[in-house]
């Protein structure tokens, strides 16, 4: 079997606090993405999903401490110098940001910004060629009148068009992997669907592997083949989308699914998970989810569960079997 496209093993990232103490934003994360696969990474804000992706890009702030392994096509990225990483960023991995309003430089034309992505890595390409390439890329992401659009500034684009431009920029050097960090969150619902459609098309036509980071299980449901659920800096459940959706083994996953609008079910109200995720500086002992968990028992407060295979998915929960099987101790005990 060939090496997976992206393989993250036991990745931890910590930041120094105000008084020199360390805060761990990401703890022992494993993640595997195969070539041409769309993998969803789901979690609330603060769950460490964005930090994980920035770690892959080598774009964490200088104060961050990082351990573990990140392999791209079998090549270790952790420990590479910035100079070496620059040959990975934009070439092997394209990055799509959450908010296309802020991810584009307001003073440069769209065409220039896309052409720049080409010329940084291939200085031998002439200005005219790179500009032609920019137009071609705008066409690829289905922006009408690409020649005219290339000469315009970001503020002349609508939100959806901007996100397309950002995707074009990420695709400039035909990367093997796209990391899309909440690519649709800042957009209107109908535009979200179009962008997801575009990403799916790129995956099929160009064979690019995609990591889709989102807080919205619904976005993943339609697009991803496999997914990882993150909570408080750790992966709590992962597996194929179909398996996880059919039989969630982690109470958090179950809660997320419960909070989805379900047109076919008779559940009328959205069941939100009670409480809020713990701040990075004050994680509870044991399972980080136990204060919000309807299944929590003594062992959950004392001992941190490790990932293990249960049924079709891999899950980190002491009571995964009961969660998958039982309806008895439903989370709706906390109706507030």
């Amino acid at each position: 079997m060939t090496a997976p496209l992206l393989e993250i093993r036991d990745l931890s990232v910590s930041f120094a606090g105000r008084h020199g103490e360390a805060f761990e934003a990401v703890s022992g994360v494993d993640l595997t993405v195969s070539a041409g696969e769309l993998h969803g990474v789901v979690g609330e804000s603060g769950s460490g999903k964005s930090v994980t992706m920035l770690a892959v890009m080598g774009l964490l702030s200088p104060g961050a401490r990082l351990s573990g392994s990140i392999k791209l096509d079998g090549r270790e990225l952790v420990g590479l110098s910035d100079r070496q990483m620059r040959k990975v960023r934009g070439v092997r991995i394209g990055y799509i940001f959450q908010d296309p309003m802020t991810a584009l430089n307001p003073l440069l034309t769209i065409g220039d910004q896309i052409a720049e992505a080409v010329r940084i890595h291939r200085p031998q390409v002439s200005r005219a060629q790179s500009r032609a390439r920019a137009v071609e890329l705008l066409q690829l992401v289905a922006i009408p009148m690409p020649e005219k659009r290339a000469t315009q500034y970001p503020h002349e684009f609508s939100g959806g068009m901007r996100q397309r431009a950002v995707i074009a920029m990420a695709m400039a050097n035909e990367p093997d992997l796209l990391i899309a960090d909440e690519p649709t969150t800042a957009l209107d619902v109908t535009i979200q669907a179009q962008i997801m459609e575009l990403l799916e098309k790129l995956r099929q036509d160009r064979g690019v592997g995609i990591v889709l980071v989102t807080h919205d299980l619904g976005v993943v449901a339609g697009a991803a083949r496999s997914l990882s659920i993150m909570y408080s800096g750790r992966v709590v459940e992962r597996g194929l989308v179909d398996d996880v959706f059919a039989a969630p083994h982690h109470p958090y996953t179950k809660g997320l699914l419960g909070s989805l609008p379900q047109p076919d079910a008779r559940v009328e109200r959205l069941r939100a998970i009670p409480g809020a995720p713990p701040p990075i500086s004050a994680r509870p002992a044991g399972c980080a989810f136990h204060p919000r968990c309807g299944y929590a028992i003594d062992i959950c407060r004392a001992e941190r569960p490790v990932l293990r295979q249960v049924g079709a998915t891999t899950v980190a929960c002491h009571r995964a079997e009961e969660v998958a099987a039982g309806q008895a101790e439903e989370m709706s005990v906390h109706d507030a």
Partner: protein, 282 residues
């Protein structure tokens, strides 16, 4: 999404939060000058306007900063100089703040034609480069430290008027003011009791920062010959003397360093104060 910045570990054990290095440094410099200004007649070995020895002596054990073209002690004159600079600067700032804030408060509170007249006056005054207007006014009034001070008040009051007006306009909208009006308080009472007390802090910060600039402008006018007249030991005047003999660098060095240190002191203080009061600027 933002990268979580790692805040720099920084420990201060004994000092309160406002006591940053610039504030301490600035405060120390200013304290030094204030103490010197008050006590200098008690311990100075020479008189500022009396001959103290041979002319044009370079710095030596007897005269630490040498003597000038007339044989007066440069250090003594430099230290005495603060007795002119600081009081005049203080006077200018106080007058400018009082006049500016009064007019600014009236403009902001009364509004209408009064506001327009006052603010157009402010606009026109601020249309001049400060030193040019100060020069022209001083020249019109006649040279002298007092007239230079008046000129500087004329140059400076609009800054505070503008600041105060903006403050009053924003405070006026607050609920407690509207409540006072609704309760039937008279207009002057509303202004004095309910609005003005909330307007002072930015004025005070600004005044501190302007202090150094006023010291600099006083010296500039004296240097040009519009401020202090010889033999007053005023810094600008002394540098003007020194410029005639600039190969003897020490004559101007004393007053030059004095101005630099005092302006630096106020800038340090103002800078630190602003960092403390407005964390965004850091």
């Amino acid at each position: 999404m933002s990268v979580i910045a790692a805040p720099k570990a920084r420990r201060r054990v004994f000092l309160p939060q406002w006591a940053t290095l610039p504030v301490i440094l600035g405060g120390a410099i200013l304290l030094f000058w204030i103490v010197v200004g008050i006590t200098i007649p008690l311990w100075s070995p020479y008189e500022p306007t009396m001959l103290a020895g041979m002319r044009f002596q370079p710095p030596n054990a007897e005269h630490w900063l040498g003597t000038d073209a007339l044989g007066r002690d440069v250090l003594t004159r430099t230290l005495y100089g603060v007795r002119h600079s600081l009081p005049i600067a203080a006077m200018v700032i106080v007058c400018a703040v009082l006049i500016g804030c009064t007019l600014g408060a009236i403009a902001g509170f009364v509004g209408g034609i009064v506001d327009s007249v006052i603010m157009r006056l402010v606009d026109v005054t601020l249309s001049f480069p400060p030193i040019l207007l100060a020069m022209a006014v001083t020249a019109a009034l006649g040279p002298g430290l007092g007239n230079a001070a008046i000129a500087m008040v004329i140059v400076w009051w609009p800054i505070y008027a503008r600041l105060m007006r903006a403050q009053v306009l924003s405070v006026r909208e607050r609920e407690h003011v509207e409540a006072a009006v609704a309760a039937g308080a008279t207009r002057p009472r509303v202004l004095v009791k309910h609005i003005l007390p909330l307007c002072w802090s930015p004025i005070i910060v600004n005044a501190t920062m302007d202090f150094g600039q006023v010291v600099l402008l006083v010296a500039s006018l004296s240097f040009i010959g519009l401020g202090a007249a010889p033999p007053t030991p005023e810094w600008g005047q002394m540098i003007s003397d020194g410029a005639l003999h600039f190969y003897r660098w020490w004559i101007a060095a004393g007053p030059g360093i004095a101005i630099l240190s005092i302006v630096l002191g106020f800038n340090f203080l103002g800078d630190g104060l602003r960092d403390f009061l407005d964390p965004r600027s850091k």
